[in-house]
Structure formats: C-alpha cells, structure tokens
Amino acid sequence: MLKKIFSAMLGFLLVFVLIGCQPTEVALPDLTGKSRAQITETLEGLNLSIKYYFDLSVIYDEESDYDKFVRYGKDENSVQLAVGDIVATKTEIKVYTTPLNLTINYLYSLGDALSLHESDYTGKEFIADGIGEVTISKLVDGDTTFFQSDGQSYSVRYLGIDTPESTALYQAWGKAAATYTAEKLQSAEKIVLEAEGDRQDGNDRYLAWVWYLPEGGDKFLLLNLELVELAYSKNKVSTGSVYSDVLTLADWNASATKRRVWGEIDPNYDYSKEGTQMTIAFLMENFADYMGLKVAISGIVTAKIGNSVYLQDESGAGIYMYAGYTSSSQLQIGAHVAIDGLTPTVYSGSPQLTNFNRLNLSLVTESLIITPEVITYDDFIFTNIGKYVTMNQLTVTGVNTARTSIYVTDIEDHEFVIRIDDSTGFDADDLGVTVGQVLTVTGPLGYYDYDYNNVFEGYNHAPSKFQLMLTASDNIIIE
C-alpha cells in the first residue's frame, strides 16, 4: 500500500517537473526555404501561433521561388523580429512568405462532369448550332480571339473570364495572359467553341467557352477555366452558368495564392504613374524599347477620330493616342497638350499610345496650327506613322463595299488605301469620290495589317499596308 502511494507521488512529482520544465520562451528558428506547411509545423511545434502575410514587393522568377519563407514581421511593440530572437511561447508570430504555388485543381479532375466529347460537336457549326470546331483567324489578347468556321471569321469573347487588357489598354498581366492563350491555341490539335446564354455581347462579339485538345492529348481542356486556375484572370462567370460553381471555386483557390492578377508584380509591366518624359520623335525611333512601359509626352492635336487623337511634336513626329470611351474637352484640334502615364503598344501593326486618363492631361496652350508635310510613297516608313501629311496626285482605283476605304495609286503606281474612319460620319459616296478621280488628301499617316499579332516585330513595316487617314471632309480635294 505504501509502495503504491509512494509510486503515485513519484509519478505526480515527475509530471510536475516535466510541466515545469516546458519552455516559456523560444528562439525564432531560421525558416529559410521552408513552405507554409513546413513553417506551420515548425512554429506550432514551438507552441507559437502564426499569422501569415504575403510579401508582394519582389519579382519572382522561378516556380521554386514560391511558397517560401521571407521574413518575420513585427511584434506587438512594432519591433522587427528576426531569426534567433527570443519570444514567449503561445504568442502569435507574423510571418511573411512569397506568393504560393498555383495548382490546377479542377481542369483535369472532374472527369465527365467537365468534358467535351466528339459527339458533342461533330457535324455542327458554332454560329449556326452554338457549338463547333473552329480554327484561329487572328489572336487578340487573353480573352478575345478571331476564329473562323464555315468560311467566316468572327470575333469571340471568352465567357466567364476577363483577362487584363493588352491592346487598347495595357494592364498588369495582360501581355502574359495574351501570350498564354496564344500558346495554348496555337499548339492545340483542335479547338471547339461552346455557346451558353447570350450569343453575342454589345460589341457584336460572339461569346463562348473555349475547349482545346492539347497536342498529343486525349481530352479536351476548358481554356476559360485554365486561365482562372492559373490566375491569368479572375472569375466573371454568370450565375446560372453550367460552369459557375467550378469557376467560382477555381477563383477562390487562385486568389488565396496571391499570384498574378491577385497581387503579384508583373515583371513586364510598368507600374510608374507618370512615365518617362520624352518627345514623340524619340519614342518613335525607340519604340521597341518602350513598348508596354509608361511614357509622358506632349504634342499638338492634329486630328481626331472619335475621342482618340493624333498628336505631333515640334519636330514633326506624330503618334496616335487611343482614348476609347474616355472623352476630354481639352483634346481639340490645335490644342497643345501634355499627357502622362501613356503606354506605347501596337494594334494591327500601328504604333499607338494607350491608357489615356483625363487626370493625366494638362493643356499647355490652345489653337496652334500644324502645317501638314507633303510626302510621297517613299516616305512610308515606321517613324512617319502618325505624322500629319499631304499627298498629291492620287488616282482612285476603287472603293470598298462599306464605302470607307478608297483605293488609290500614286504617280508611280504604288497602291495603298485612304481610310475613312466610322466616327467621321461620312463615306466615299458622301464625298463624291469615284474611280478615276485624282485626289489631294491631308491627314495623319496610319498603318493597318490584319495579320499583325500585336507583338512588335520591328520597324520594317510594309509600305503597302500604310493608310492615309481621312478625318475631315474638307481634307480631300478632288481635282
């Protein structure tokens, strides 16, 4: 009996000693290279709790860089913690990590619930039947492509997603999304479009889910979902769509990683507000170096196309600035303006400035007159695109069906187009243009190459693709 009591007392004494010897303080360990799972295991093993933050201030180059410890945060007294610092157990430690690895959770995992079979589209055509195999006509950006089927080409906007812009606007991850979409489509063995709900949007683009069969693959993949899972887009799916749930959950998972559109720095995007100050002439001569970056320029408005304008500096160099739906009363012909935060891009081969924001515009002076420079076909070079010019002795050889393109030859039989933009409100018939007439036309020099995939391909633009933009009806003289 006594022996039992003594043993029990010894046991209790041992327990109390052990408890008493539990550490009340620990040193913060070096967590370099550890993932969040490993960090959690390590710190919880030290009787610490963790609150995670992301360090989004650094550009990460390799997938192996993600989901890694960066540093400790500050304690409750705003003292920066570091490896080796002594902290009390049971306290909450702030830990900063890199963004996390993206994982494909749904694209390959849902079997028949997320699949496309040959029988679904065989014998059908997308425009007529709402589903059908297509081929690429022209790449645009991450969520818009021109496809073709049954002899017609049409613009398709991808359903359920909205990748950042990389054409008319230039946004972080827009170019990366466009590149990813292009790579997947161009390497695909087959592409099938599937309609759901509204067939077209307000811009006359068809709406579709885009399935593609990877090269050598045996299963169609849904590109819309893939772009969300890989954080090239946030989810924009309509409630009631058959893909609503899976896209919502894919969005949830991707957003938790803070990758790409969820906050990661795009290494190929200029986050500066104002941009680098330069002349238009310098920009045109060094266009490739400033593609996608921010610039600040000043120039005189020489022509207007809707809200958009052509600007020209004192040296005579010009450029087109796309304003989209953003109007500004300050952008009047003759106005000398300074505009910050513009992004040089190309659209169908033509250099342009995008990301116009009224807040970034300053009016220098009003009512300056630009005298157009008289040029010839030999002056159809890249650095002259956007310049305000006059061309003489142009013989009309034809007009397109829409009456907005006047085909002309110069005195050396070089062929090119005089283009009347939709926004002018007039066409060739309104101007009384007929075949055989000789014209003198003044306007900005433009460029249009339908096959240009919006990736700058250098300065050797084909002269035959240059256009003379007719933006006002009194800028044409019929001799």
Partner: protein, 542 residues
C-alpha cells in the same frame, strides 16, 4: 444534369481540399458590442478590403488609400477586386466557414444580412458613438499631433441610406453606406425633339429642344400615350423618328420590386415573409404584360442582352431605365460602329424613373385584361448600391483602423469626390453643400454643388449654352445630369428589407432573383402573369 453533376463533383473535390469545414456560428444572435481601444495601435497593421471595382474606380480608391496611409504610416490597406458581387459574397461565405475573410468588404444588405446571421459582421455602433479621442503620435504621419475620433454624425447621412444599414438585428449598424446609386431614365432627345407638338398635346412638359421635366417624372399613363407617337412596332423608323420600343428596363428584378411599391403590392417584409400571393401583384403583372404587348415596355432579353443600353444607343428603344452609376453606357459615341447607330450620335437627356402616380396615396385607373382597375399608388425609386462593413475575425487593431478608413472614405469631401469620379452618389448630405473645391483634373476643380450646377445650367439654357468646346464642364455634363436626377428622386428612395432564408422561405437575395425571373418568364411567354407569380411563390416558399 451536367450542371448538377458538375456542382456535386466540384463541391466534393473542394471539401476534399478544404478538409473539414466548420460551419459558421448559428443560433439566435446575441449582440456583444466591441470594446474600444483607448489608444491608437502603433504596431504594423494590414487591413484587407475586398471590393468589385474595375481599373478606373480602383484608381480613385487607390488615391484615397494612399492619403489614408500617409495619415497612418503603420497601416497598409490592401484592396482586392473580386470582379463581381456574386463572387465577392461567395468567397466571404466560404471564408466565414474557414476563418478566412477580409478585414472589410463591400456588400449589399442581403449579403450583410447573411454575415450578421453567421455572426461574422462587426456591429459598428461602438465606433460610431465612441467618444474617445486619439492623438496621432507618429512623426511620419501627415496628421502627426492631431486628435481624431471614430465617431460620425449620423444626421449628416441620407436617411434612407442609414435605414438600410441598421435593419439587421436590434437596430444596430453592421454596415455604412458607400457606393450608392439609384435608377434614372435616359431618353433619346433627338427623337423627342421631332415630336414636340404631339407630346405637348398630351399635356407633357417639353422644351423646344426636347427636354422633358427633370423634377416631375413621367407617369406610366403618359408612357402609354407616348407609345402611339414614338413607337413603330414593326421596327425603328428613322425617317419618322420612331423606335421599335418605347422604354427598356435594365433590371427585371427592380422593375418587379419598384412597381410593387408603386402599386402598394405586398412583396416581402423584414420578417422574411414572402407576400406576393395577392390580387394587387397579379394585376400589376398583368398590367406590365400589357405594356410588353404594346411595345411600351421591353426587357433586355428581347435582344438577348443583360442590359438595354447598347440597343438604346442603336436606336431600337427611345428610353431606357438603368443604374445612375451606369449613365455613360447610354451615351452614344463614335466608339460604336456608325452603321449600327440608327439615329447617329444622338442627344441624350436624363429624367426620373416613371411613376404610377405623382403624389403618394393617389388613386389611378389602369386597364388590366380590358377591365378598369384602380391602383392606390405611391412614388418609389430604387435605392441601391453596396455598403461597407467590417468582419469579426479581424484583430481589434485591424478593426479600428478599418473603421477609421471607412470614416475617411465617407467624409463629406471624399464621398463627393468619389461620387464625381465614379458616377455613384454622395452618402453625406453635407457633400451636397460643401464649398471645398475638389480637383478633378490638373486644371479643373469644382465643388459638388457646382458639379450639379453644370447640368442645371445646361437645362436652364435649353441645351444652348455658350461654353467653349474646351470647357471641361462638357466632360462632366452627363454625370451631372444623372446626379441631379438622382438627387431629385431621393425623397422617395425605397430599399428591400434584407433577410436570410428561413425554415419555410427563401432569403431576400433569392426573392429578388426570382422576381426578375418572374418577369422574364412573362416576357418570353413561358408563363402567364398569374402562373408566373404562382411559380415564383413555389420557388420562394415551401
């Protein structure tokens, strides 16, 4: 079947990923007021703010964030756009169950009703009524040495905005107004101008340049009369300046709910009762169906669109009711293909949403199924737009700074700037009368009252103003129009009571969705008005 299978498999996979999901706390709500900190926390604090704004509005928000962070250098506000409200709400609902929610977020009253029910939203009254004064003691702060409070003057808010935000439990505030809007009607003034004499013959006030009244709304009876003048049911007749349809209504749900208020037709109540099974609602739907039949009223589904703005710009419809924040979508520009603009780039004006009556508690006779029906009508215009609140998961320091940020966002000058920059409406009454100029561009600064004056001057001159083409007032004309109309309607703003699903009925968000579906079913001929209402009831109650 595919949808059901996909949803089931998706959720199964997701639970497998998330592991065991702890459902949010349920049960009767017991209000436990936050205990206020007595000093400003000095440690680094991150406040995460989930919203849905696109790049333009995010840029405006970022400016306000930068100003706030300059005031409190130890605070980082991390804004994340979740693209749309449905996604935002879904993520928060999932996040509540796993303890991962932002510090603060936008949300509709329906959303916050759910968050309150899940014990996830913070009661804001302690912050609103807090009398503690905090001294900013940070040499890096732009307000170093100043004393601040968390309290706000509730009397300075639009009353109906406030009422929407304390309707949840016990009259406590769980959110405050932020991006508010209403509905306004855009009209094709170019078309109206061609029918001045005929319109005046109907007793409708219209100026020589086609401006309708901006202070007195059209009635539905007047719309029916205007149909005979402005509509060619077989298609838009450009030469005759007639549209195929008279008036589009963007939100079918708003049409149902707002008409219910105008008809005094029971819809729902704050207790969560679904009250639609009544003769007034049935007659209302039959009346609306009659308007469909004469092309007086059309829904975007006619063009398989989500909104009618594009077809308004194309000239298919002469008038369109939509959000005041979306006014710009109803203004034709050269960005649209010229060959699609039947009336070219026509003149647009904005007026109030149409009403059944012009004075509350007035009887008006309408025709329903060829029989006369008397409607005892009231004035009503939708009050909409998200509010902003804080989540309980946050630390006390995070909540305090989140509240201070909210307070900064809704300060009079900031709410005015936010409104002028985004198309939303100021939440504060003093914003309307503030004499502090707000810089809109590098060269243009204006007070909110002067911003409203832009449209007022334009209307007073019957559109014949002597502004130079470079006058920056042109850039704000349409937004000023919409803001004036919104202000003129604010005496009869109404909002839906927000409630979660009960044991026998759906929640307010589902009720709203089914209200819209009800009208779509009538428009598409799927159901008769009576059957559609019965179907709606069957989906909302069990």
């Amino acid at each position: 079947m595919k949808k059901l299978l996909l949803s089931f498999v998706t959720l199964f996979l997701t639970f497998g990923i998330l592991g065991c999901v702890t459902v949010g706390t349920t049960g009767e709500y017991v209000y436990v007021p936050e205990v206020m900190l007595t000093e400003l926390p000095t440690e680094d604090v991150e406040v995460t703010f989930w919203h849905i704004y696109g790049e333009g509005k995010t840029a405006v928000l970022d400016t306000l964030i930068a100003e706030f962070e300059a005031m409190f250098p130890n605070v980082t506000i991390t804004g994340t756009s979740q693209s749309d409200y449905t996604t935002l709400r879904s993520k928060i609902n999932v996040g509540v169950s796993v303890g991962e929610v932002p510090t603060m977020a936008l949300g509709y009253p329906d959303h916050y009703a759910g968050y309150v029910n899940a014990h996830a939203a913070v009661g804001l009254d302690p912050y609103i009524n807090n009398t503690i004064e905090y001294t900013v003691d940070n040499p890096l702060s732009s307000i170093n040495g100043q004393t601040i409070t968390t309290s706000i003057d509730l009397t300075d808010f639009v009353p109906s905005y406030l009422a929407e935000n304390n309707q949840y439990v016990g009259g406590y505030y769980f959110s405050v107004p932020f991006s508010k809007s209403t509905e306004v009607m855009a009209v094709n003034r170019t078309v109206l101008k061609q029918h001045i004499t005929e319109i005046r013959a109907l007793g409708i006030t219209i100026s020589d340049n086609g401006f309708l009244s901006h202070t007195v709304p059209l009635t539905y009876a007047q719309l029916e009369a205007l149909t005979a003048i402005l509509v060619n049911t077989s298609g838009t007749d450009v030469a005759a300046y007639k549209c195929q349809f008279l008036m589009n209504y963007d939100s079918n749900a708003n049409l149902f709910i707002n008409m219910s208020r105008q008809w005094n037709a029971p819809y729902t109540n704050s207790a969560g009762d679904i009250l639609i099974d009544n003769d007034i609602s049935r007659n209302m739907l039959k009346y609306i169906n009659g308007l469909f039949g004469t092309n007086t009223l059309v829904l975007p589904t006619e063009w398989t669109q989500s909104y009618g703005s594009t077809n308004f710009i194309y000239g298919d419809v002469c008038m369109t009711v939509g959000s005041s924040a979306g006014y710009s979508y109803n203004v034709p520009t050269s960005e649209y293909k010229a060959n699609l603009l039947k009336f070219g780039i026509f003149d647009v004006d904005f007026v109030q949403v149409p009403q059944m009556v012009l004075t509350d508690a007035t009887d008006v006779a309408v025709t329903v199924d060829n029989a006369a029906v008397t409607v005892n009508g009231d004035l009503s215009a939708v009050q909409q737009g998200p509010n902003i609140g804080i989540f309980a998961n946050a630390t006390r320091a995070e909540k305090l700074y989140a509240w201070l940020f909210i307070k900064y966002l809704i300060e009079a000058d900031n709410t005015a700037w936010w409104a002028m920059s985004t198309g939303y409406l100021p939440a504060r009454l003093s914003a309307f009368t503030s004499d502090v100029p707000i810089a809109m561009t590098g060269t243009y600064s204006v007070t909110y009252s002067n911003f409203l004056q832009i449209a007022q001057d334009y209307w007073a001159a019957d559109g014949d103003v002597d502004w130079l083409t470079t006058d920056e007032r042109w850039d704000y004309l349409y937004s000023s129009m919409a803001a004036n109309i919104a202000k003129n309607q604010n005496d009869f703003y109404e909002y839906d009571p927000a409630f979660s699903a009960g044991d026998n009925s759906a929640g307010s968000a589902t009720a709203r969705e089914e209200a819209g579906n009800c009208l779509d079913d009538i428009y598409n001929g799927t159901f008769s008005p009576t059957d559609s209402l019965n179907n709606m009831k069957s989906l909302l109650t069990w």
